[in-house]
């Protein structure tokens, strides 16, 4: 993989250039959290590109909460030309989530010949500049799902912060083109710089191991979830679930939606709306039959989807360890604890540290 050095000054020029040529989105701080915001003159010097993941996943750039997907009987040809987007500061947990979404929306295993033209267009028109995670919070657990706090694939460019600037890795043709366009800003990487990056990465990896020490199980989550349908753990933890669906909305891989129709003027429109499998009506059919009438069944099913359904279909866990579901939960449900208790019930070794 090609890599270059980007000094601090050049980095600022690079970001400024990106904000002129593209619709540039980057993490900014609001209250205690990082949010993606469009970069403009006011906030360009207040970006937190390399800190940690934002509070929201990046899925809404590709599958917004609501989108018109068709109009029927009469169709107008209004088409908005949008500037190409650049998303800056994407973390590995969110890049990994795109693998799941890519599979669902245009992969062979999901719906075969049916591809989602809106998702594909958005993916094509978006450049992803990721960065190493430098400051995970107490809910981050990517290392528990065999992932890492820095990306190795799936990005167009990746930034690694080393004191004097950034090492920038090229991950795709789109990334290569960007480098070529601003060639003057980049210089070569020396061994010292690479060493610093490795040291940083190791430090953050160890920090995550420490944060998650008490949750570590000797079996993978896949093995734990398989055949655990009758476990008492689901009932126990779902007791404090208030069925808000927040975990679904905030999850970078949850992508379930509902199609809905409405009349607008003389024409009709079909909309795509995010949906939540935790809600009672999610799987209910006309006439009232419901395959998952009890909350604990829906609660279990969500984790079955992540660690059984997706692995069986595409050999990937649909959980990237971003920990947002833990942060968002008003019932204070921590899925690391759920899975740890599942391990205890199955008599699988867990860490003894309190």
């Amino acid at each position: 993989m090609k890599e270059f050095f980007l000094s601090k000054d050049s980095y600022l020029k690079f970001v400024e250039n990106l904000s002129c040529e593209f619709s540039l989105y980057a993490p900014v701080q609001k209250g205690d959290f990082l949010f993606y915001d469009k970069v403009n003159k006011e906030n360009i010097d207040k970006l937190f590109v390399d800190l940690r993941r934002t509070i929201h996943p990046i899925k809404s750039f590709f599958i917004p909460p609501q989108r018109r997907v068709s109009e029927y009987f009469i169709s107008s040809s209004e088409k908005r030309e949008e500037k190409k987007k650049v998303i800056l500061g994407v973390k590995n947990c969110d890049l990994n989530a795109l693998k799941i979404l890519d599979n669902v929306y245009f992969g062979e295993e999901f719906g075969r010949e049916y591809k989602d033209p809106y998702y594909m267009e958005a993916r094509k028109e978006t450049i992803l500049i990721s960065s190493d995670c430098m400051d995970p919070d107490e809910n981050c657990f990517c290392t528990l799902v065999q992932s890492k706090p820095f990306p190795e694939e799936g990005f167009d460019l990746n930034l690694s912060n080393i004191e004097e600037g950034f090492i920038i890795q090229v991950g795709s043709e789109k990334g290569e083109e960007l480098i070529e366009a601003f060639r003057d800003l980049f210089s070569s990487v020396n061994k010292d710089m690479s060493k610093k990056r490795e040291k940083n990465r190791e430090k953050i990896f160890k920090l995550l191991e420490k944060i998650n020490k008490k949750f570590k199980t000797s079996s993978s989550y896949r093995e734990l979830v398989r055949d655990s349908y009758d476990s008492s753990v689901w009932k126990k933890y779902s007791e404090s679930c208030v069925e808000c669906g927040g975990c679904n909305q905030i999850c970078p891989t949850c992508r379930c939606f509902l199609l809905s129709d409405k009349k607008r003027g003389e024409k009709y429109e079909k909309y795509y709306l995010w949906d939540s499998c935790l809600l009672a009506g999610f799987a209910r059919v006309a006439g009232g039959a419901n395959p998952r009438p009890y909350l604990f069944q829906r609660f279990a099913n969500r984790l079955f989807c992540k660690f059984f359904f997706f692995p069986e279909n595409i050999n990937l866990d649909a959980c990237t360890g971003c920990g947002r579901c833990i942060s968002v939960c008003p019932g204070k449900i921590d899925m690391r604890k759920v899975l740890r208790d599942l391990a205890i019930e199955k008599r699988v070794t867990v860490s003894l540290e309190k």
């Binding site: 719906g111 989602d116 033209p117 809905s260």
Partner: protein, 277 residues
Amino acid sequence: MNNPYQPIKTEILQVIQETPQIKTFVLKPENRFEFRAGQFIQLTIPGIGEGPFTPSSSPYKNEKLEVTIMQVGRITSSLHNMKEGDLVGIRGPYGNRYPLERWKNKEILIVGGGVGLAPLRSLFFSLTHYINDYPRIVFCYGAKTPEDIVYKESILDKWQKEFKNKVSFRITVDQGDEKWKGRVGVVTTALEGINEEIKKITESVSVVCGPPIMMKFTTLKLLDLGYKPENIYLSMEKNMSCGIGKCGHCQLGKYLVCRDGPVFTYEKLRDIPQIWD
């Protein structure tokens, strides 16, 4: 690029009242529309919503399409208020079909319950199109009362005459009335003595569609009679929304019903908890 969310403009040509709650809608799509027995379509009621339904007409007749629909919820109620000349939208066809090529030279047992006969009617047209491929077809159907029988004229009279030596009919109602001379009892009772008609039960194929409780007890009965799990074909009812494997509503264990079904063999489903709910 092709937009899979775009419905095809479709005119309602005719509305046939089958029972007090069930109507058959004869539809004419604007574009050519082909399907195979077992597949489903997404039917849009303009501005109201969309739901999955299985065509009940012959796949060999392309110019028109029929769907038989019971009034149970919001969308079906709106549809029941529609009349000839009104417009709906359709997308599809989606999902798999009955694997007829694998059923050649096998005895076929069809078991339908209530409005669940819709896809089986389409199947019946397909089977009888090449009727000499199948040594025997037994057609079992159960409805609540004689009034609730769908396609009355066909199954009580026309088909019985037309396929006299090829197909035997076992029609039952849960509760008869003074005019009813036929069988009384749930559909599983009509399966008693099936081994007198079907010579090789272990080789025979059974195809079941109906309400979940009927599918459950029919499957158990078929296993009891000696049917192999891989020869019991079930049409699973789920709330497919997109129909194209994306929206997640029809997830059933590791399967998506719109992608891997709606036709499943019992063998594929038997280890999944709560398949009948």
